[in-house]
Amino acid sequence: MSKDVMADLKRDHIAKMLSKGIREDGRRFEEMRPITIEKEYVRSAEGSARVHLGNTDVIVGIKMMVGQPFADTPNKGVLTTNAELIPLASETFESGPPGREAIEIARVVDRGIREGQAVDMEKLCIEPEKEVWIMFVDIHALDYDGNLFDAANIAAVSALKSTVVPAKRADKGEDFPLPVAHEPISVTAVKIGEHVLVDPTYDEQSVAEARLTVATNENGNLCAMQKGGEGSLTADEVLRIVDLSRTIGAEVRAKT
């Protein structure tokens, strides 16, 4: 019970502040937290980045392996995205195989990279139908203060941009930089009462009714979207968040 009482109190407090136009950390409703990106953070990975989005801290490592293509895309590399929400990062994360929350984050980040055509997958073909590069995007949360969707997306795009395909080690010619073609950036907003806030903190996220993540490309086109939460959005709210995502996404992209 006490947990629920706490949640109610927190919700009331946050909502009251929001009605005065104030977020708990002083940001504007449409403002991301500070972003810091450390590329090539992990030497054992082919590409990596550690991203702080406010106090949210996440590492993405890219590993490249030679393997078989899927039957229906014989001349394309394979993308595999995985998120480990290890209990080191939050008491709300549990040990064991990825739960629905981790799966959702991995799949939304994957969808952004895949549908946003971040990587030219045809250039990852070694021999059609036989051998291609398998690209593992592994998301590792270290400290969780909300909005892992965007933090992981930023880290993934940054890591991809720093990745060198280890062709020489695998006896497949010379090493080459991963052919990054686009930089899809996601922006996540939540709805709390009447208000729409981008880049929610843990506390904001925990009292939010609904969440919408929108990934856009350099040309402002949409490539992926995911609504979450048990509340609803109006079509107008959806369209407003789409607009926010296009604008803010462009600002974030400049930093990756």
Binding site: M1, D4, D72, T73, K76, P98, R100, I103, E104, A106, R107, R111, R114, E115, Q117, M121, L212, N217, G220, N221, L222, C223, A224, M225, Q226, K227, G228, G229, E230, G231, S232, L233, T234, A235, E237, V238, L239, V242, D243, R246
Partner: protein
């Protein structure tokens, strides 16, 4: 979206603006819903949408296991979306994969919004969606069927959720993508919607769309949900009439 190149000789849209299965851009596939088709479940619905065949069943409200998941303030609506191993061309290995877990999560959230969960603290309302034959759009078909099954189970609800997708095919915004359109199309926007209150409760998108195209698609899908909503209500009405004819006590 697919990313697979279109095989030779296949055209997703002809010169007359007809789609590969003959539909117009704004046309849904044939939809059929029947409520109350299973005996053991507390509520159920069978749905066909084009070549999709989906069964939904509801059990509950009932005691929530394991106990540490119980919420003392309300019921948990727990959806389990599952594809039968034979529902797709390449046999699917039994058991939940990542895709079905994601779908289960977002459908659970969408349904939670319409159930008066606060009436049944500490309980679980379990929604099982079985895809028997899959042909693109099964998550929408499943959500639509599950809403009817919940109502059939007599669970108090704010309203029904209707669901269908819009998408982009051959540079045209269309409704309710079929299998080839899903494989070779340009974008897909699955929507869960409450037509009466105009609320979006499930929304995904993948592919490549301008903001304008998205706005158009969202509108088309929302409009189509109104038609689906009518079919849902009709199924429940028929169920009620049948029940009434046969003596409502005799049905369950």
């Amino acid at each position: 979206m697919g990313g697979t190149p279109l095989p030779d000789g296949i055209k997703l849209m002809d010169e007359q603006g007809r789609r590969i299965d003959g539909r117009l851009p704004g046309e849904l596939r044939p939809l059929k819903i029947e409520a109350g088709v299973l005996r053991r479940a507390d509520g159920s619905a069978y749905l066909e949408m084009g070549h999709n065949k989906v069964m939904a069943a509801v059990y509950g409200p009932r005691e929530c296991h394991p106990r540490h998941m119980q919420d003392p303030t309300r019921a948990l609506v727990q959806c389990h979306y599952n594809m039968a191993s034979f529902s797709v061309d390449d046999r699917k290995r039994p058991g939940p994969d990542r895709r079905s877990q994601e779908i289960s999560k977002i459908i659970s959230e969408a349904l939670t919004h319409v159930v008066f969960t606060e009436y049944f603290p500490r309980t679980s309302i379990d929604v099982y969606i079985e895809v028997l034959q899959a042909n693109a759009g099964t998550r929408c078909a499943g959500l639509t069927a599950a809403s009817v099954a919940l109502a059939d189970a007599g669970i108090p609800m704010r309203d029904l959720v209707a669901s269908c997708a819009a998408g982009k095919v051959a540079n045209t915004m269309v409704l309710d993508l079929g299998k080839e359109e899903d494989n070779f199309g340009q974008a897909d926007i699955p929507l869960g919607y409450i037509p009466r209150t105009e609320e979006v409760v499930l929304l995904q998108m993948d592919g490549d769309l301008t903001a304008d195209e998205f706005r158009t698609g969202l509108g088309m899908a929302a409009d189509a949900c109104k038609k689906i909503y009518d079919v849902q209500r009709d199924a429940l009405r028929r169920r009620y009439v049948v029940a009434d004819d046969g003596g409502s006590e005799g049905v369950k």
